[in-house]
């Protein structure tokens, strides 16, 4: 690839001092829908804390993993980073920009430099647009150098994600799930991001395709010096990609630190339960299931139990 397609801003970016992204005390609450009884009683809608006091610092070239089960707040957390969701409290500093108050050109800049790849590329790509055009459009919106020449621009980006040039002329439905996700990645890279946020980007894929994309992310990280945030419920994906990890449970980070430490010596009972519940492909490691059962019975404080969950339902 030619360096100016995606590498344009890196030289400037590398000059910056200190962490690339700092998040302090990020909070986001959502109001639940008011029930009929709430209307009658004129009571306020119940609120749920989707993200409570999330803090982390991310240096250039590092990868942060955010792990947790559904409803843990991990997606809301990353959406707050580029203000797809407006946070209620906390500080977000990205490359010297105060993201919370950024507007206009600054906010556009933040969103260009932090790009997201979502779980379902079929939903995030325009079904009527050829994939090559989608890539070029993203580049042109942000006036990327090289994007004037559509052919070479899309060819460079397709090469970056290991797709043949011929794919540029196809529409999303003509591609396999893995190819579509590569297109979504190429489109994100087309605007020259410094941080790539993958929100369950590998969850919907078959195992063999997932492994290919895991490798692709590793290559991109190395070749482009990308900083990454991986959001995943699958701990193995975090284990393979992240340098540091935050384990979220019902909006709170229960444990955070270097991935090697946390995965080998989990301290929080929820982290332990999560790791123990991961189904190992080795049939002689069936202890995991037993462990979770025991953890449930012992009623460990943060180990999520299915029954406790249902118990909360009126």
């Amino acid at each position: 690839m030619s360096p100016d397609v995606t590498g344009h801003d890196f030289a400037r970016a590398r000059d910056g001092q200190g962490p690339l992204l700092t998040v302090k005390g990020l909070c986001k609450e959502f109001a639940l829908r008011r029930s009929a009884a709430d209307w009658v009683n004129r009571s306020k809608a119940e609120r749920v804390a989707a993200v409570q006091d999330l803090s982390f610092t991310l240096n250039r070239g590092e990868t942060l993993g955010i792990a947790g089960e559904s409803g843990s707040g991990k997606t809301t957390a990353v959406r707050c980073l580029i203000r797809l969701v407006e946070p209620d409290a906390g500080d977000i500093t990205f490359a010297g920009i105060d993201v919370r108050v950024a507007s206009g050109r600054d906010l556009r800049d933040v969103r260009r430099r932090m790009q997201m790849v979502f779980q379902d590329p079929y939903a995030s790509l325009n079904p009527r647009m050829r994939t090559g055009d989608a890539i070029v459009e993203a580049g042109r919106v942000h006036h990327r150098p090289g994007s004037e020449n559509a052919d070479s621009f899309q060819a460079d980006l397709l090469e970056l994600v290991n797709l043949p040039k011929s794919v540029a002329r196809k529409r999303p439905h003509e591609l396999s799930g893995g190819q579509r996700q590569r297109i979504a990645i190429a489109r994100a890279l087309a605007v020259g991001p410094e941080i790539l946020i993958a929100d369950e980007a590998l969850s919907a894929l078959d195992v063999s395709v997932q492994a290919q994309l895991l490798n692709l992310f590793q290559d991109l990280k190395r070749e482009l010096g990308l900083t990454m945030i991986f959001v995943a419920h699958q701990l193995s994906i975090i284990a393979q990609t992240a340098d540091q990890v935050a384990i979220m449970y019902r909006g709170k980070v229960v444990e955070q630190g270097p991935v090697a430490d946390i995965f080998s010596h989990p301290q929080d009972p929820y982290t332990r339960a999560l790791l123990a519940a991961h189904p190992q492909p080795d049939p002689d490691q069936r202890l995991a299931v037993q462990f979770v059962d025991d953890a449930m019975r012992a009623g460990s404080e943060s180990a999520r139990t299915d029954s406790a969950d249902a118990g909360g339902v009126p």
Partner: protein, 340 residues
């Protein structure tokens, strides 16, 4: 529960034998073979895992057992022998009885399997009345018992819940309660934990293990996740493009996979152990894409992605051959490379 358990010594009952099964679709004039000459057996009380990626034919194979195939699908040949009879040739009325009493089924998404406007107790009661001929009162009592049995707390209250009031894991427990309430001898479970969180998945797998141990029912578990299969199964059959490429006891497949696809699949599974800094963190992968069923190559369908491919691969007939003991593979060239 009222009915006595089937005696575990009775080897004939509850065993499933699929022979030469071929299921095809007619799509826009072209014929697509989704299940291609599948031979599978699971003896009474055992659990068989069917593992493969999307489009490999595992779900169609499972659905053939209860003839619950999409309209466009045609069973072109083969037999599905359950309890000594060929299910594929049963008259509808007999089939209905088998579905009601002898075979329980759990699908991936409990939300779409349950009626959203009916209380879970009513759905269980209905199944029990129709399938076992119980009275409303007997069935209602039995419904509470069935919910309790699958680990639903406060079952006597929970029978009045609607599906949307329950968590995903609870809904799947309800599905297990419905599927096993009639004490079937065979349980078919198609990706029963795929939509669930990992800790809930572990609980459902623990529930499945307990139900199996208590009832001695034969189980066929379909999953794309080798980890789930390894947790729950005695034997595993690996499917690729409609064919079974390898079949063996689970430990055998994990320790010494013979078919190149199985090897690739196992190598692709990311570990929960982070790679050390010095290690090469790249996973070994299977190159290329899973095949289009409408455009399969001649011979072995895996050959375009196979590291051991040779000219003779286009002639391969995809018949399972014994490697040793209970270990079968469809690759005739396994002895020509070092399996270890």
């Amino acid at each position: 529960m009222a009915e006595p358990l089937p005696s575990p010594t009775d080897r004939e009952r509850g065993s499933l034998d699929i022979r030469g099964l071929r299921v095809a679709f007619n799509r826009r004039g072209s014929r697509i073979v989704a299940v291609n000459d599948v031979d599978l057996g699971v003896s009474s009380g055992q659990t068989l895992g069917l593992v493969g990626e999307s489009g490999s034919g595992k779900t169609m194979t499972l659905r053939s057992v209860i003839r619950l195939l999409p309209r466009a699908a045609v069973v072109e040949s083969g037999e599905v022998i359950f309890d000594g009879v060929d299910v594929l040739r049963l008259p509808r009325e007999e089939l209905r009885k088998i579905r009601a009493r002898s075979i329980g089924t759990v699908f991936q998404d409990p939300y779409s399997s349950l009626n959203p406007v009916s209380r879970v107790g009513a759905q269980l009661t209905e199944a029990l009345r129709l399938n076992l001929g119980l009275t409303q009162k007997e069935a209602a009592l039995r419904a509470v018992e069935a919910l309790r049995h699958v680990g639903i707390p406060q079952a006597e209250k929970r029978v009045r819940s609607y599906p949307h009031e329950l968590s995903g894991g609870m809904r799947q427990r309800v599905m297990f309660a419905i599927a096993t309430a009639a004490r079937p001898r065979l349980l078919l479970a198609d990706e029963p934990t795929t939509a669930l969180d990992v800790t809930t998945q572990a609980q459902i797998l623990a529930l499945l293990a307990r139900l199996r141990a208590e009832t001695g029912m034969t189980t066929v578990l379909v999953s794309h996740d080798f980890g789930v299969i390894a947790q729950a199964c005695d034997t595993v059959a690996v499917m690729y493009a409609g064919h079974i490429v390898e079949r063996a006891p689970i430990r055998e497949v994990y320790r010494r996979p013979h078919h190149p696809y199985t090897q690739g699949l196992l190598n692709s599974i990311p570990s929960v152990v982070p790679p050390s800094r010095t290690e090469d963190s790249r996973l070994s992968t299977i190159p290329g894409q899973p095949p289009e069923l409408s455009a399969l190559p001649a011979g072995c369908p895996f050959q375009p992605r196979c590291p051991h491919v040779r000219p003779a691969c286009t002639e391969v007939r995809m018949k399972l051959e014994r490697v040793e003991g209970d270990h079968f593979t469809a690759c005739p060239f396994v002895r020509s490379w070092d399996v270890s």
